[in-house]
């Protein structure tokens, strides 16, 4: 466990050397768990390796911005690249159309120097040339990752959000699509999910194949069942049970404002991993003053809960709020928030007040 936590110190064990299992796209983690990549290298790193196999991931959407789609797209694309079976449900009439918007993996060659650094260690342009003692580890890490990348299948790809996934990734793949609008209740969806997970179910501890279930905007008002809160709750619980007993990861995104407060809490308790995404307003001058790199930010991503399976030791992250950015307008990256060194009114009443604690611990220079 201790080895899988991202650390700020240069004397930590290198995580990237963690054992990889035989199944493509699955990495072995501590306590007999395995990880699936989320499709975003930085998020994997933050969560200590990726989404735990058998866990339920809930993403709380921003009511106005489609940032959760970015997470879902990367999650699904990564699955297709690894040739894992995929189930996608959405309130759209034609959910298959969404597959056309999936991003394509980047060629790994041209991007190498930027990869595999912990989000809080990512150097700014100026100090990347600085080779002094506390930065050696970074260069060592680079070499390691290059070796790993020599292998045929990478655990986690970078995705180019501008380029659609090529046709050949879909061919011969099992991709199920369901529209949540088709039926007045969730029973058919649950049946599809159970059929899906029973096909990839693991015999005792041997996982033969990992699957991904992505459900977009579960309680959106287009669905007929959006007012049946207990039904949705028991659907989530059943799905969680199913996923737990098979080798799959389910990602559900939902608009939290449409769920009543007590049920929202129930949903959050049910989630193994809980993430929320939030867009940031275009012209918020005060926030722009407070945070460096405000212009490049797409939004904020907060990690509220990290799946703890087979262990009771809580995962305590160094920071819980990260900024989402597009590097070169293509690859989605997550960065720790860096507070601009202006008048130190730390107790600001922003929604991002947690950013203060996050950024104070993770400056670029730690002696």
């Amino acid at each position: 466990m201790a080895s899988s936590r991202p650390r700020g110190s240069s004397f930590s064990r290198n995580i990237s050397s963690a054992a990889t299992s035989q199944i493509p796209g699955v990495k072995l983690g501590p306590n007999g768990t395995s990880f699936l990549s989320s499709g975003i290298p930085d998020l994997d790193q933050i969560l200590g390796g990726g989404f735990t196999l058998g866990s339920l991931v809930m993403v709380m959407e921003d009511p106005e911005a489609p940032h959760h789609m970015l997470l879902l797209r990367n999650f699904m694309s990564q699955g297709l690249v690894h040739k894992q079976p995929l189930l996608y449900a959405s309130p759209e009439r034609d959910p298959r159309g969404f597959l056309g918007t999936l991003p394509s993996p980047m060629a790994s060659k041209d991007e190498k120097p930027h990869e595999r650094q912990k989000p809080h260690e990512r150097p700014t342009e100026q100090d990347s040339n600085l080779r002094i003692a506390w930065q050696y580890k970074k260069y060592l890490g680079e070499q390691n990752s290059e070796v790993q990348r020599g292998g045929k299948a990478e655990y986690c790809n970078d995705f180019d959000v501008r380029k659609p996934l090529e046709r050949h990734f879909y061919s011969g793949q099992r991709v199920d699509c369901i529209s949540l609008r088709d039926s007045p209740n969730l029973v058919p969806v649950l049946e599809r999910c159970s059929a899906f997970s029973s096909q990839i179910s693991k015999s005792d501890s041997n996982i033969t194949c990992a699957g991904r279930i992505a459900i977009q905007s579960l309680c959106s008002p287009q669905c007929d069942f959006s007012d049946k809160e207990w039904d949705m709750l028991s659907f989530i619980r059943s799905l969680k049970g199913m996923v737990r007993s098979s080798g799959a990861v389910a990602v559900i995104s939902f608009p939290p404002s449409l769920v009543s407060p007590t049920f929202l809490k129930r949903w959050q308790h049910l989630a193994d991993t809980l993430i929320s995404v939030k867009a940031i307003p275009d012209e918020d001058k005060e926030l722009a003053k407070l945070l460096t790199g405000y212009q490049d930010m797409l939004g904020l991503l907060s990690v509220h809960k990290v799946a703890r399976m087979n262990t009771q030791v809580p995962a305590i992250l160094e920071a819980t709020t990260f900024s989402m950015k597009l590097r070169k307008r293509r690859a989605l990256i997550l960065e720790c928030l860096n507070q601009a060194p202006v008048d130190g009114s730390s107790g600001s009443s922003y929604g991002t007040s947690s950013s203060c604690s996050g950024s104070s611990k993770t400056g670029n220079l730690d002696f």
Partner: protein, 252 residues
Amino acid sequence: MDNSRPNLLEEALVEDVIGSVKTQKRGRVVVVEDCVETSAAFVLHHFLKRSLQPDSSDVVVFIAFAHPFSHYERILRKMGCNLAVQRKNQRFLFLDMLMLECPDRNGGEAKDDGLLTLYGEIEKAVEIYSSLEGSRTITIMIDDVSLMEVAANGSSNHVLDFLHYCYTLKAKYGCSLVTLNHEDIYSSANTLPLILQLEYLADVIIKAEPLATGLASDVHGQECKDDYAVLPAKNIMAKLWEHRCNRPKFGF
């Protein structure tokens, strides 16, 4: 960790009961409450370990809605207690309710069948265990009540009935009842009854809540006991971390 030295949680639990350790063990209702930010599952693990100590002959009936057996087994193994062996020795009964579904919300009588059969199972087990000779306490643990509500499709009355039935076992056989629930779910008035009833039945209420100052790497939250003595925050989490440091000593 040596078992002889009680930690702060233990001290807190013992001191509110007059008399010896023996009387303290006779049937109590413990309600553990937590919230999204801090999970209190570790309290259950701790109780589980205490009751399955090798020098006693206590029995635990564990009703799991939240996690499969492998999850608990791994955790308890790290705490020095082998659940699989205890299961074989008839000291640990694990009821996997992960997929329990009480069907049909509108079906009237059909829906409480699941909980009813579950209770029947528990009662039978308790009867059998208590008929065996030797003084033993039977502890019924439920992880967790809010999921039981979901399984009962939102009819909290059925869940309350179930809990009351379990409560009667306390009078009849001297069973202890340990339940985990999430406090923050019951914030609105029409969901309150369940948690209030639970708290009314409880002898001890343990609450886990995050520190107002945020999380630190070794102090994770604070624990609150029913007589409103807020324990120093370090108790349990400190134990966990100590445990983590000591792990190599166990030599698994």
